[in-house]
Symmetry: C2
């Protein structure tokens, strides 16, 4: 067995949160999430709303009841917004930044290459926690699952990748949740280069990746982990658009609340 890779001891938590439906369980889940970050943390909620920011206002209201010492909400609508001195100063002082979006590309096109993106990477490396909610979870990764089709079978073109915020390159995240049929697009994404692990996160479910690259699951749903490291065979490079892809020897884990999983050794921890 290889030696454990040198952990980035000072890195802040990377928190990937599935979609948060407006139900009575969500405030308790958010309180748990805030509690993981620390006592009375300073929290910034940054969003890239599609049309209205009603969802952000609701999320802000629920967060207010969880014991944050400070809570600031910023809706980004232009790339200039990601250069605002006032926002950057707040992030410098924050304990947790929450990214919320309905579409991964909405957020990545607004913050990619900005001072805000650089600062989020720097502050996370120095200890600040960063949480992505819904599509915001996909954005946390170096390789961001930008969009995809539904279905259990991987097909050429069924997953589109784009560069994300880059807090971790260990995982590709699909937060499509219970209702969507995410297996095929996650397999298609991994088939392109079987380096990262695929993480599918149910709604109302949270994955916390610690500085030691061990993740833990919280919440009411499940997390699908697909490990392609022993992948034996794929014909993804030879096919036309839409064709089903052959991929053999993937490892699959279904994790639930309380389960811990080591991303370096790629196995569940008892």
């Amino acid at each position: 067995m290889p030696a454990k890779l040198a952990p980035e001891r000072n890195r802040g938590a990377i928190i990937a949160c599935g979609e948060l439906p407006a139900n009575q369980r969500t405030p308790a889940l958010l309180a748990r999430l805030i509690g993981l970050v620390g006592d009375s943390p300073r929290v910034i909620l940054i969003s890239a709303p599609d049309k209205s920011d009603d969802d952000d206002i609701e999320l802000e209201a629920m967060l207010t009841a969880t014991g944050c010492a400070q809570l600031h909400r910023h809706a980004l609508t232009t790339r200039a917004g990601a250069e605002q001195r006032q926002l950057l100063d707040l992030v410098e002082q924050a304990d947790l930044v929450i990214l919320n979006a309905e579409q991964p590309l909405k957020l990545s096109t607004l913050i990619g290459g900005s001072s805000l993106a650089r600062l989020l990477r720097k502050r996370n490396a120095a200890g600040m926690a960063v949480c992505g909610v819904g599509a915001g979870a996909a954005v946390l990764c170096e390789h961001m699952l930008a969009s995809g089709t539904s279905g259990p079978t991987p097909r050429v073109g069924s997953a589109s990748l784009a560069p994300g915020l880059g807090l971790t390159n260990r995982v590709v995240i699909d937060q499509g949740g219970n209702a969507s049929d995410r297996l095929g697009r996650l397999l298609a994404a991994l088939a392109l280069n079987p380096f990262a692990l695929g993480l599918g996160i149910d709604a109302s479910t949270v994955v916390v990746i610690g500085p030691d690259n061990v993740l833990e699951v919280f919440g009411n749903g499940g997390v699908t982990i697909i490990d392609p490291s022993e992948m034996a065979d794929s014909n993804a490079a030879e096919l036309e658009a839409g064709a089903p892809i052959r991929i053999t020897n993937m490892r699959l884990h279904a994790l639930t609340a309380g389960t811990r999983f080591d991303l370096d050794f790629r196995r569940a921890i008892d």
Copy 2:
């Protein structure tokens, strides 16, 4: 590596066919399927229609154009129908019996324990091919996936098993196809006893299991194989109904047309 189990050399093919949509590709797929059985085979189509037998009539019409020497269609509506001498005589002489249904339980409740079911097992063991189309594919198995919910996460009660026709106990088949979200219920079914392999078959896609327990994929979609033989950990026995189940260390393969997979050694064959 264990020695190859003694193959049942005389057994006929077990053919599991996903749902067959009424499109222009289906006749060619059926012709391929019939060609696998032999030249000018005698074919019996047995169905358990839900309301109308329009689908069976359409399937019969498409089969007529594939070069069968004989083609008989029987719609079962009562258990007495599965004892009819005329039908049993036809099955005695057939090269291929095709089972078609919209619901697995519709077929299993009509033929379970009948003279027809016994004869199908005996004739398959002696060389006759048996094909299940759509829900008929699930019925081929000893452990039949009778019904299930949709979603990527296995949950307690999300899969219901019932005894099927019993031609093979190596696999549990889900033919829910492209549109349904079958991963969770297949994992839930395997979690109950990690003995069989899980097979998810797309629409317009065919799996042929030969007497040597090697399967081959045909058609336009994909086949998901889930192998639980190295399953490390499951809490399925401890949970309440609806709770997500933790299952680690499953093996997953996505197969496409032309791929062969050995059910004894549980690996793709190059």
